[in-house]
């Protein structure tokens, strides 16, 4: 401590011009640069550079262990005629659309329920979030076991209730497999949506509901004209994240079906893994994953402009 107190007195006996070194030490912009250096280093070397590199690889015929040469859009032409690729695009869109819509609906409903006053409220909220904490792969394995073709507990229960006579081949039939992975995704995503929307709900002033009650608003009207408008900004953010992570999902599918049966659950991410890493066609895999970028940009744009419009309507300045 003594050093710190003494240092300025000894270091600056007379006023002198700031040297370059002083500039680097104290100038706001230089300081900012030094402080940003570690984060920027990571993000540039392991995020921005690979992002560019990925797009470049998609224009080459790179294979594992062999740097490729530039072949133009051949990979994309190849994919254009590849029915499995289009099936994976269809699956991804179906998966994203259905799972996000249901996650939103159930998540909002759950948030509204959890916002009620009841005993053990805090504990319930904590319990609800557990599916989100547990690593996706591990819970996907649990679902794999629950949806097993022979020993499924669901088949067993339905059989004992007398609803079905045969085991349902959950992950072996393409329709059922799609339903199962979508269900598992919803199961994992609902807690996130619910808890974040709940945080939004708690900021809504109760007096608004009281006023609406006095004005004779129905339950639905209160939701439609108070809760929903006030929640819109947070809904936009939450759903952007949800759509984004559903669209690029990999682990759930890989742990449960690996894209099977007959590619019925292949998403673009799993297909690109299969082509790039397992089959070794890096260029083709990179083309598939680069093909996700336009979809992602579209999703970001939609939510971004949704957010802007809402801000403008509420008369906030766009900071």
């Amino acid at each position: 401590m003594a050093d710190i107190a003494l240092q300025p007195r000894t270091a600056k006996p007379q006023i002198r011009d700031a040297t370059t070194w002083d500039q680097i030490k104290t100038n706001r912009n230089w300081l900012g640069f030094w402080f940003m250096l570690p984060a920027m280093g990571f993000l540039i070397f392991f995020l921005a550079y690979p992002l560019g590199l990925g797009i470049w690889i998609s224009f080459t015929d790179a294979k594992i262990g062999r740097p490729g040469t530039f072949i133009g859009v051949e990979n994309y032409e190849w994919l254009w005629d590849d029915s499995i690729f289009w099936l994976s695009v269809f699956n991804t869109l179906l998966y994203t659309f259905i799972a996000s819509a249901i996650k939103f609906a159930v998540g909002l409903y759950l948030a509204l329920l959890l916002n009620e006053n009841m005993p053990f409220k805090a504990m319930l909220r904590a319990l609800v979030l557990i599916p989100f904490i547990v690593p996706t792969v591990l819970s996907a394995l649990a679902f794999w076991w629950i949806f097993d073709s022979q020993f499924s507990i669901i088949s067993w229960s339905l059989k004992h209730m007398g609803l079905i006579t045969q085991n349902i081949n959950f992950l072996g039939d393409s329709t059922w497999a799609r339903i199962c992975v979508i269900f598992a995704n919803i199961w994992r995503g609902v807690p996130f949506v619910a808890i974040t929307l709940l945080a939004g709900l708690q900021t809504v002033q109760p007096s608004l509901y009281e006023a609406a009650t006095l004005d004779g608003a129905s339950k639905w009207e209160m939701f439609r004209f108070i809760t929903y408008p006030l929640l819109t900004p947070i809904i936009a953010v939450v759903m952007t994240f949800s759509v984004l992570f559903t669209f690029t999902d990999f682990q759930l599918i890989w742990a449960m079906t690996r894209g099977g049966p007959v590619n019925a659950t292949h998403l673009m991410a799993t297909l690109s893994y299969q082509r790039a890493i397992i089959a070794g066609q890096l260029g083709e895999g990179a083309a598939i994953s680069s093909a996700m970028i336009p979809f992602l940009l579209a999703a970001i744009m939609v939510s971004w402009f949704g957010l802007q419009r809402r801000k403008w309507q509420q008369g906030e300045n766009n900071d």
């Binding site: 710190i4 550079y49 329920l113 591990l138 076991w145 974040t196 996700m292």
Partner: protein, 307 residues
Amino acid sequence: MTDLPAAKVDLKSILSTPARVDNSEGMSYLQSVPRRMVTLYLPLSIIVFILLFPFYWMGLTAIKPDEQLIDLETYNPFWTWNPTFKHIYKLLFQSHYPLWLWNTMYVAICATALSIFASVLAAYAIVRLRYRGAQWVGGLIFLSYLVPPSILFIPLATVVFQYGLFDSPLSLILTYPTILIPFSTWLLMGYFKTIPFELEECALIDGASRWQILVKIVLPLAIPGLISAFIFCFTLCWNEFIYALTFLQSVQNKTVPVAIVNEFVDGDVYRWGSLMAGALAGSLPLVILYAFFVEHYVSAMTGAVKE
């Protein structure tokens, strides 16, 4: 308004609306118990049951004897009267599981520490130094949060290979921060904004350097934020799958999620017990951590979204 009975009925339905937090005593006294049963407790318990059932099933399978796992007719599958620790024993003493657990822990802690260090500096610079272009950099960092790993893993695999990091835990320690830094920077920016800047001005007048201000004033005040960021980053690391699957090859180096999927899944009909025991043991550390820091966890999750 003149039609009194109708208004009365209307009122009742109105008063059962959700979303009253602080003063729910105000309007909730009119809600009848049966009504709450149907509109609140019933749907809530169904949802909670569905959300928690897979964990019950995971735990039950992990302690069931093998013959009960595949014989659903003789034994009721929903319960077991003679639990066995065979699967867990096999997991802990006859497989590499402890090693995988250690790998996961090691990678998660290193990557989290690195990213928290980098994002504390970055967040402080963006919020308080406000150098030229800080706003833009903040926006870019948010955008980088939206770049998913499943787009990056192919080029990153070639990068990792070029740097000679393939099949080493270092590859994960260096690549995980790309997922963690954007998130924790964004979270910490929110926290730093709430610390009054007058404190820092005082310190500046007293001759403290920016580094001293950060270490001695800002960080102690931002400890809740740091804990939130730490826990959330740790969970994300533990959960990460695609990088670990792509960059690691040898059995000893794998992390828990990858190892379970690749090493435990074989044609054996009795695999389920050890598979579920593995899944349970892989989830428990996170659940325990979560149980101690629920509030921090929730604030991390919602804080990052609200910003």
